[in-house]
């Protein structure tokens, strides 16, 4: 059943996929000597991954021409399964970003110019790859859970309640981001075990995943 969704995603987003592929080929053919182009590619892949998220979770309110969540939840599909489908579908749009992060350190030794204060070569190969995946899982779930959280907060009756909820939501997100950056930064890494960033990032990603799942299952 998931392939039914994935097939539909490919048909609906074939133009962005084609543009991304052409942009990559063009950039590498003509600007590969300049490290700034890799930064450009990184942001392009990130933007590409973020764009279809609303369609995947479905729009809660009337939003003509975007698939609505009511329709998705009314389908004869177990809602927990639907949540997993959404995760996998979103992950596919992260594939260019993941591939880029995996390949980059191999052919661009100065990759740390792109990743701020983060040197991939310092990580044993396996750890680096799992770490990238854990970061993507965290980011993907942030992109899914933050809009779901905002939807909920908008229904709170008083401004004070809404304000506090915003502060808590954004505060938790920034704290998670801080933990990940801190655990992966060069200075901190040298002073600790190479597994440390992986443990911290995976733990943060797991907590975010759990929160997203809970928000999704109570999202209407």
């Amino acid at each position: 059943m998931i392939f039914h969704f994935i097939k539909r995603d490919f048909i609906s987003h074939r133009l962005p996929w084609i543009i991304l592929i052409l942009f990559t080929i063009f950039s590498l053919m003509f600007f590969s000597y300049n490290h700034l182009i890799y930064l450009g590619l990184l942001y392009a892949y990130l933007l590409f991954a973020m764009t279809p998220m609303t369609e995947m979770t479905g729009a809660k309110w009337r939003s003509q021409h975007v698939m609505s969540r009511s329709y998705l939840l009314a389908l004869p599909v177990e809602r927990k399964t639907l949540f997993w489908f959404t995760q996998w579908r979103a992950l596919i749009f992260f594939m260019p970003l993941i591939s880029f992060c995996y390949i980059l350190p191999t052919f661009l030794p100065e990759a740390h110019r792109i990743y701020i204060n983060f040197v991939p070569q310092n990580f044993p190969v396996g750890i680096y790859h799992v770490l990238v995946l854990a970061m993507v899982v965290w980011l993907l779930n942030c992109m899914m859970s933050l809009p779901l959280g905002f939807e909920k907060v908008w229904t709170y009756p008083t401004q004070q309640k809404r304000l506090w909820a915003y502060i808590v939501m954004i505060g938790v997100f920034l704290f998670e981001l801080f933990l990940i950056i801190l655990s992966c930064s060069e200075t901190y890494l040298y002073a600790s075990h190479p597994f440390f960033p992986l443990i911290v990032t995976s733990a943060v990603a797991f907590v975010r995943f759990y929160l997203t799942r809970r928000s999704w299952l109570t999202s209407l």
Binding site: W61, L73, P76, P157
Partner: protein, 240 residues
Amino acid sequence: MGVNIDIQHLGYRVPHGKQVLTDMNLKIAPGDFVAVLGENGAGKTTLLDLILGFRKPSQGFLKVENEKPYQDNWNSRQKIAYLSEKVDIPGDWSVDDFLKFNEYFYTHYNHDIEAGYLKLFRVKRTDRLGNMSAGEIRRVQIVAALSVEPNLIVVDEITAVLDIVGRRHFMTLLKELNHKTKCTIVLATNILEDLATNVSHVMLLRDGVVKNFEPMTTFLGGSEQAVFSQKVADLLEDDQ
């Protein structure tokens, strides 16, 4: 064959918000065609959301065929047609794209019925949803939802955007399905036209409380459509 809906002491409060439904008690029998009427904000959509299992009751329970919908008995949704103004479809899809996407999930999807409804509602498979009006999109949804041969049809205020012909076709179709298949229909609406001759029961909601729930014949007491509209308005207003 339709389903029964059993509602006992049902209450719903929006998280961090107001009480929307209070102490509802009623039974909808298989084959009933119930019109849910009430002012904006009376709780009509919330009641339908509870029937679909989108929300969990805060008090009491609501059972559809002895199952609590919020517990996600997903397989029973095979036979539920959900038509709502909240349902939107991507604009870059064609009618055919949507129908094919939708039918995949339903094991009893009937292509002959679909072809008949496409003709009845004058929907072309090749039309793009982004170029259609709100009423035309609703017609597409009606075709998709009713082609699953449902035993429960939940309609949340879609008649308002249908034109006169579309609305008449839709109401006639619901009545026919109700007679032929004995499916249960719950229709929330603000359009009273055609209701008196089609529905079997009337439920009046006021501020989340059931003010009336009775067979249409009892409710009307032998009067006509014009009196029906007047009576609904009077009953909803007399507490204000």
